[in-house]
Amino acid sequence: MSDWQQICRVDDLERERGVTALVHGQAVAIFRTHDDQVYALGNYDPFAHASVLARGIIGTRGDVPFVASPMHKQAFDLRTGVCLDDDSVSVPAYDVKVVDGTILVGPRKASTLA
């Protein structure tokens, strides 16, 4: 299994929305922000115990880009997966790169491994 998995074209993603991708057997939420940054977080909302984060609203808190869970609105930092409302909770964040307009999702970011 390659560490980097091809997902889709950046253009396939709406700005400021997410999609769910199947990466290494896991549901991963991929987000494209207003300024075309792409982020990937585990799709599973640890508060609601449901696989839904990709369906949340994207925004900013100060300078922090975040997604609000569509279940109960807890906000997660798109860069780190840390919950902005309760920093003892986080979801996995994955490395992302864009090569020739194609999104590649890599391994879980080191900083988010427990």
Binding site: D12, E14, E16, T20, L22, N43, A50, V52, I57
Partner: protein, 851 residues
């Protein structure tokens, strides 16, 4: 230990008897007592204070117990039954049906009876009293053939009765023995002001006259009144006596209990009669020898009696007889020492004969304390003045400013002491109100109402409550923050106006011009709702798709395991068998859990996001459309079956509900909107629990607004009565659009109403009287909405770009998300939650349906 339950008998089921039972249940008296309530009237307790509104709202709306029984099974209610005797030695009462009921404790709450003076002719046909719903039914019947009527008695109740006659279209005369109206509460000058108001409405007032004879015509019915020292008789076809009340103390007299000199059962401060197993409360009781003809002291007595039965120390030592009410549309208030009976008291009077306003303050000899007062025509200052009397606080330097026309009525500038009672109906002090604001439990009137009950009964203290909240925030330097979130320094209403003025069509335009950052889960859906209200573009359009909240974003309702529920519109709850079968087939084929909703439609649960378009396809093909169960928008307009089938219905409620639901479907609003239409006053559609409720009358429709169920239930209030269908829709168009324009985000109509200065009266001015000249504009906005409506489901399944988002995985669209799984309960699916993310491959995925 053997625990023997005891029996408590309550004789009388009026307002006070009912309050007693409620308090008994709440405070646990039913843990030791079985309660038997014996009520003489055919129906359970109802709101006698609002009796006049019976013609408008019907008996059910007045009822305190529409289901006919209490929830606590240890309380048994016998209606249409009377206690006829008390045997104190045997400790039992006899009933008029011959039954005998033993008691361990007995509470007499038999109330009072109207006093009918022994004028010759008082027993003729078409002579009535004004006390029960049956009295009003009889009055209404007689009014149909009556041209003119007289109310004998110009007190508080007499004017209520006169109002009722006037409403029934009878030329009404008020006949009062005293030299002025409301002689007990107000002085001569106040009485003159009140008389002018009443006569302007077309009633005739005769003060200082004594009725000598009620004369009959050839048919044995009332024909005229003859007065002492007056030659001219007064031609009337009906008479209503409202000349005071007398305590109904006969049961007590017959069994030898002590009674007061002027009537009423003598009780001590804990409401015990001379027999300590027997209590008396309400108008039949005379604590300290005095009877109280108002409901508030009766309620206090009920609470004290419950406390005494529980062994508590509560006492009743007299009541504040202050009154404020609206009689025939005229504000009248009287409080404290209204007649300046205190030695050396001084009077301060403001009168404006043109405006019909009379205000009098009674102050102490040194000018330092307010002792009482009278307000006629404008009683807005009552909310501040009454607590000033009760607390004995020092008057401000220029007390006349309290009653001058410029004063706001909220008493700005007056600092009440903490112990000042602000809400007299529910006994809430200033200190209690400020405390809930100070510790963050409430920051607006609605919150204070929820926390303290202040302002929830008569509402006269609401302006003062509002001011106390504002004063508190000002004192700690906090501005009341109505801005929507960190990205916009604007309230929702301001945001709405900004969009309307500039014609913005996208979030980007708005946040670039008026905000900062990239928005959040609060401002984005708010902007989406505002854009939808103004332009009605598809919610998944390019400009708005990324702004939509959880449910709007997928045109379905997200459930706890990440699956969705689907609700097709069933307007008014009317559905053909064919369509019902289609819903069943769709549910069966996609394996969905089905449940009937409270809004008379069918909810289909357990759809995976990627299944939604196929489900919509089937439903749309069968003629269904989106029910908008997912939107902050119109949900349903519930209806009863109405005059088409129902023996009691007076209008076609189903037809009206369908018309309204189709008119307002898809209308985006600050919060969800629900409607109801009932075909008669029995109100089977529960329309008064809705944001807008329509109840059929003989002449048309009554329109009620701003009700809701939910966490803090609110009854909708009458906005307009007896309107035709066209007017109804015009008012509703205006009302809904005005709400959509001005409400805060997620503010339902009832809390929105609370936040409006002037409340319902103000909304009526804008919607019905068109005081702001906004009517045509609001109607045009609604017409634009109606004209631009499209079914969101159909538009989605017809648009490949919108459909593209309905996939499980962007890189594996054929694989369902294994995190969503179900188990079976009662022959249907239910969500199965997993405490960890599920890895595909470790579970066998649930297959997509073959349909």
């Amino acid at each position: 230990m053997i625990h023997v339950r005891k029996t408590l008998v309550v004789a009388g089921h009026g307002m006070v008897g009912h309050r007693f039972v409620l308090a008994a249940i709440e405070r646990g008296l039913t843990e030791t007592y079985d309660i038997v309530v014996v009520g003489e009237e055919a129906r359970p307790a109802y709101d006698r204070v609002a009796l006049t509104s019976f013609f408008e709202v019907g008996a059910e709306a007045l009822s305190y117990l529409p289901d006919g029984s209490y929830e606590d099974p240890r309380v048994r209610l016998l209606t249409g039954t009377q206690v006829t005797g008390i045997d104190r030695d045997a400790r039992q009462v006899t009933l008029d049906n011959g039954d005998v009921q033993a008691y361990d404790a007995l509470v007499l709450a038999t109330g009072a009876a109207p006093f009918v003076p022994p004028v010759p002719g008082h027993d003729l046909d078409n002579v009535f009293v004004y006390r029960t719903i049956e009295d009003l039914e009889a009055i209404r019947e007689a009014s149909k053939s009556a041209k003119a009527g007289a109310v004998i008695g110009g007190g508080l109740l007499g004017l209520e009765a006169a109002n009722a006659l006037h409403q029934l279209g009878v030329q009404t005369h008020v006949v009062e023995l005293a030299p002025r109206l409301m002689a007990v509460q107000i002085d001569d000058a106040g009485g003159r002001t009140l008389t002018r108001h009443v006569e302007q409405l077309g009633l005739t007032v005769h003060c200082g006259v004594m009725t000598e004879l009620i004369d009959a015509g050839a048919d044995g019915k009332v024909d005229s009144l003859k007065f002492k020292d007056r030659d001219e008789p007064l031609d009337v076809d009906m008479v209503v006596f409202s000349a005071g009340i007398r305590p109904r103390d006969a049961l007590a007299r017959d069994c030898g209990l002590a009674v007061a000199e002027r009537g009423g059962i003598l009780v001590d401060e804990q409401m015990r009669t001379s027999d300590d197993r027997i209590y008396a409360i309400g108008e039949c009781a005379a604590p300290g020898g005095q009877m109280y003809g108002l409901v508030a002291p009766g309620y206090s007595m009920a609470e004290v009696a419950v406390d005494a039965l529980l062994g508590g120390p509560g006492t009743f030592t007299g009541a504040d007889m202050s009154t404020k009410l609206k009689l025939l549309g005229v504000d009248v208030a009287s409080f404290g020492d209204a007649f300046a009976g205190t030695e050396g008291a001084l009077e301060l009077v403001f009168a404006d004969a043109v405006a019909g306003v009379y205000k009098k303050l009674v102050v102490s000899n040194d000018g330092k304390r307010l002792l009482g007062g009278i307000l006629v025509g404008d009683a807005s200052a009552y909310g501040v003045l009454r607590p000033m009397v009760a607390s004995g606080m020092e008057l401000p330097e220029n007390p006349e400013e309290l009653i001058l026309p410029a004063s706001t009525g909220s008493g700005a500038g007056v600092t009440l002491p903490d112990e000042a009672q602000i809400c007299s109906c529910n006994d809430v002090t200033k200190g209690e109100i400020v405390a809930v604001v100070a510790d963050g439990q409430a920051d607006d009137v609605a919150g204070v109402k929820a926390c303290t009950n202040a302002g929830t009964t008569c509402g006269s203290c609401v302006p003062v409550v509002k001011r106390l909240i504002e004063d508190h925030f000002a004192s700690i330097g906090r501005e009341i923050d109505r801005t929507i979130c960190e990205h916009f320094p604007l309230s929702r209403q301001e945001l709405f106006d900004v969009v309307a003025v500039h014609g913005y069509r996208s979030f980007d335009q708005i946040i670039e011009a008026h905000g900062s950052g990239r928005g959040c889960d609060i401002c984005k859906p708010a902007v989406a709702s505002i854009l939808a209200s103004q332009f009605n573009e598809h919610v998944l359009g390019r400009n708005t798709a990324a702004l939509q909240d959880t449910n709007d974003a997928y045109l379905a309702n997200l459930q706890k395991n990440g699956s969705y529920s689907v609700v097709p519109r069933i307007p008014g709850g009317e559905i053909t068998p064919e369509k019902l079968i289609v819903i069943g087939e769709v549910a069966r084929d996609f394996g969905l859990y089905t449940k009937i909703t409270g809004g008379q439609r069918i909810d289909l649960f357990g759809a995976r996001m990627e299944q939604l378009p196929a489900i919509w396809q089937r439903l749309v093909a069968a003629g269904f459309e989106s029910g908008h169960a997912y939107g902050k928008s119109l949900r349903t307009v519930k209806s009863c079956v109405g005059s088409t089938w129902c023996r009691f219905g007076v209008q076609d409620s189903v037809g009206m509900a369908i018309e309204l639901e189709l008119r307002y479907r898809g209308l985006r609003s600050p919060h969800k909107l629900k409607g109801g239409v009932s075909g008669c006053a029995r109100e089977c559609a529960e329309a008064r629990g809705k944001d807008f409720g329509v109840i059929a009358t003989e002449k048309g429709w009554n329109l009620y607004v701003c009700g809701n169920g939910g966490m803090v239930p609110a009854h909708a209030q009458l906005l307009a009565g007896d309107v035709d269908s066209e007017t109804l829709i015009r008012y509703l168009d205006r009302f809904l659009m005005y709400y959509i324009r001005t409400a805060d985000r997620l503010q339902r109509t009832s809390t929105w109403l609370d936040s409006i200065d002037g409340g319902l009266d103000r909304v009526r001015e804008i919607v019905v009287d068109d005081a702001l000249g906004l009517g045509a504009e609001l109607e045009a906005e609604m017409a634009r909405h109606v004209g631009s409506y499209v079914d969101e489901w159909r538009a989605t399944i017809e648009d490949p770009e919108k459909l593209a988002r309905f996939v499980s995985f962007v890189n594996a669209p054929d694989v369902p998300d294994a995190n969503i799984s179900f188990e079976v309960e009662r022959d249907q699916i239910k969500p199965q939650l997993s405490s960890e993310p599920v890895t595909l491959g470790s579970h066998i995925p649930v297959g997509a349906p073959t349909a």
